[in-house]
């Protein structure tokens, strides 16, 4: 059976502005969505797999999705939906068409700068591992990948994911190949139409972002305003840069909890 690699993309029409309606001519996919498709196409070539693009998008997106798939995708699942849906609901609908995929590739942002939570819900729904902010593949094994992940301040880390997995890539990871003229004129991707189901009435509970409680901090001491600013910003204190701690996993976890508690993030 031919393996299938899934790709999720989000189509964003131009935002309506004052006095003007949204205009499909200015609609696009993000660079990271395009990179996700390119990576999927490259892996499909290595594995003799098929690429399936799945998208929850309005009818107006159809020609753009077809044009995107002309780059080499084998299947397009267009789940028609006109309004806004929750990330959990979108992920649930996407998952219906991705259950036979060992790997699913997503962009790590959409042009409307949404919450970025669909891949996480998708991973949860499919029971798959998830990795975010991927900028490269450092090693390929049978059922796993070693992925290069971007961290803050220019740092990188390597994470290993086992199939099935959901990967969100950055736009810099790859540039989508240009579709050939032949496939642009005569799209070959098999198009599967679907429509968005009504959201489940099952509540997932209330979610809210974590915000540490406010703490009372002593007013800075100092004779002059400058002194007080220095005190408030610790400008005169010896600078404490990041520290490298080598500990066993259990001790490392304990250390992190202690530091977070010390800094006020945990009570």
């Amino acid at each position: 059976m031919t393996p299938i690699i899934g790709v999720c993309v989000k189509w964003i029409g131009s935002q309506p502005t004052s006095g003007h309606e949204a205009d499909a001519r200015f609609a696009q996919f993000s660079a990271s969505d395009q990179a996700a498709l390119e990576v999927a196409l490259q892996r499909a070539e290595q594995q003799s797999a098929r690429v399936r693009v799945v998208s929850v998008a309005p009818i107006a997106a159809r020609s753009h999705l077809v044009a995107l798939c002309a780059s080499g995708a084998h299947e397009l699942v267009h789940i028609a939906a006109e309004g806004q849906s929750s990330s959990a609901h979108v992920a649930h609908e996407l998952a219906q068409h991705l259950r036979d995929c060992a790997s699913v590739w997503c962009g790590d942002y959409s042009l409307d700068r949404g919450s970025g939570s669909v891949p996480a819900f998708l991973a949860s729904t499919l029971g798959a591992q998830q990795a975010l902010g991927i900028v490269g593949i450092s090693a390929t094994n049978n059922n796993s990948l070693d992925l290069l992940r971007r961290l803050d301040a220019g740092r990188r880390e390597i994470v290993r994911v086992m199939e099935p997995f959901i990967i969100s890539v950055e736009g810099s990871m790859a540039t989508l190949r240009r579709a050939s003229l032949a496939s642009t004129l005569r799209p070959t991707a098999n198009i599967i139409d679907a429509s968005l189901a009504e959201p489940s009435t099952l509540s997932l509970g209330d979610f809210s972002p974590f915000r540490p409680r406010p703490r009372t901090v002593q007013a800075p001491a100092g004779e002059t305003a400058l002194d007080r600013i220095k005190a408030a910003t610790s400008a005169n204190s010896p600078q404490k840069h990041s520290e490298i701690v080598t500990l066993a996993p259990e001790d490392a976890a304990q250390y992190i909890v202690e530091r977070l508690t010390e800094w006020g993030y945990l009570s």
């Binding site: 001519r25 240009r178 579709a179 050939s180 003229l181 004129l185």
Partner: protein, 433 residues
């Protein structure tokens, strides 16, 4: 067997009219566009005269995306401190079947291209045509594009690839090109509320104004313009390339100079510049026109220099649409007869010769050179405005001078020779008479 009966390169007004005409005959036609959608280049700032569309889209005015219907036309002469306007208004131009309109090309071109698609044309965007495919005899049989596997073949290719056509040049259809044949059009789109525009330009509803300006271009030969859109103005200058290159001011400085003129500043003040663009305009008319057809190839629109720049008449889109339509008719006839050689495509030349496209260019062939000459650009505006000032200036206790004396004095002061004035008058009469 070719991929298509006809390939049209460029989905501007010429290309879309060509594709629409061909698609309606049932022939297969590909319309190849470089931009992500037709009109995306968005550098136009002018008036569209769509009368020619009567033949293609009955009652086009009910659906064409229009900013304003032009009901006022002003011609303005500017010197540094003076201005003289000849202002014409016609209420008839504000009702069907209308005359001219200001339009945004991303809307207008997209609308026209969609008409071609609805008729059966295949529109391919984001694809640049990089060259022509020719057979052993040199006849054009297709195109190369920048896409992988990007060659397409057709019985006829219609090049509507705009000013400075690479395809026509590649095929040797422009025997000589000269920078003096081109002007640089530079435009700012200035956002103002509809209410302010209506008040400043004395219009209501969707009535619009077209102001053509002679002078005000900081000594560079050319002209200026102001067109009213619904809630913005197109303000710009058209500059003769060699003259622009020979001095030190940049185009945006020249527009700034125009906008600061006492006759223009009150019209644009308080506006926000929302766009700035520049584009070459083929302004030499017949003098620069390329060979219009060859075996398997037709050239139309700006690619064929189908732009009329004759002072009081500044038209391009209507010439483009007509030439695209006629090129399509010629291509269809040639395909039906099984002869797409230059001889088989010669109907194109005949249609152009029989209609306004080449007739107007022929009649006005001397006009572009006259309009852009130093005397018309610099001396005559000064002469006319000074004469008018002399007429209306009250200098009591001196009695009013006669018009002939004012004219004689001002002509002498400006150093305009009678023989030059007479020569230009004859040229003008031959062109515009």
């Amino acid at each position: 067997m070719s991929d298509f009966d006809v390939i049209v390169v460029g989905a501007g007004p010429a290309g879309s009219c060509a594709a629409l005409t061909i698609a309606r005959t049932g022939k297969s036609v590909a319309l190849i566009e470089r931009g992500p959608f037709p009109g995306s280049k968005n550098m136009y700032g002018g008036v569209v005269y769509p009368r020619i569309l009567d033949a293609l889209i009955p009652e086009w005015w009910n659906e064409m995306p229009v900013q304003r219907w032009v009901t006022r036309r002003s011609t303005m002469l500017l010197t540094d401190t003076q201005s003289l306007s000849i202002d014409f208004r016609s209420d008839a131009w504000g009702d069907a079947p209308y005359n001219g309109a200001t339009a945004f090309r991303p809307d207008f071109d997209n609308w026209l291209a969609n008409k071609a698609v609805e008729a059966g044309a295949t529109l391919v965007c984001s694809t640049t045509v990089t060259g022509l495919i020719t057979n052993a005899n040199g006849a054009v049989i297709g195109i190369h594009t920048d896409r992988p596997d990007g060659d397409l073949t057709a019985s006829v290719v219609i090049a509507c690839d705009g000013v400075n056509s690479f395809l026509a040049k590649e095929h040797g259809m422009y025997p000589h090109t000269d920078a003096a044949h081109f002007t640089l059009g530079v435009k700012e789109t200035i956002t103002l509320s509809k209410e302010i525009i209506d008040e400043r330009f004395a219009v209501r509803g969707n009535q619009g104004v077209d102001i053509e300006i002679l002078g005000g271009t900081s000594g560079v030969n050319g002209g200026g313009f102001i067109y009213t859109n619904l809630d913005s103005l197109s303000v710009g200058v058209v500059l003769k390339l060699p003259k622009l290159a020979a001095q030190s001011k940049r185009p945006e400085e020249i527009i700034a100079g125009l906008k600061s003129h006492s006759a223009i500043a009150p019209l644009v003040e308080g506006g926000t510049i929302s766009e700035y663009s520049a584009h070459l305009i083929p302004e030499a008319g017949l003098k620069m026109m390329p060979t219009l057809l060859d075996d398997g190839l037709l050239v139309a629109g700006d690619a064929a220099a189908m732009c009329l720049a004759a002072g009081i008449w500044l038209e391009g889109v209507n010439f483009a649409m007509a030439s695209g339509m006629y090129a399509a008719q010629a291509a269809c006839e040639a395909i039906e007869k099984g002869n797409t050689s230059a001889k088989g495509l010669s109907l194109y030349k005949k249609l152009l010769e029989d209609t306004f496209v080449l007739r107007d260019h022929r009649k006005l062939r001397r006009a572009p050179q006259l309009v852009l000459s130093d005397r018309v650009q610099h001396m005559y505006p000064a002469l006319i405005t000074s004469v008018v000032q002399g007429m209306f200036h009250v200098n009591n206790p001196l009695p009013k001078p006669g018009l002939r004396k004012i004219l004689k004095d001002e002509r002498r002061r400006l150093g305009i020779r009678t023989i030059d004035l007479a020569k230009d008058a004859i040229t003008g009469f031959r062109s515009f008479g």
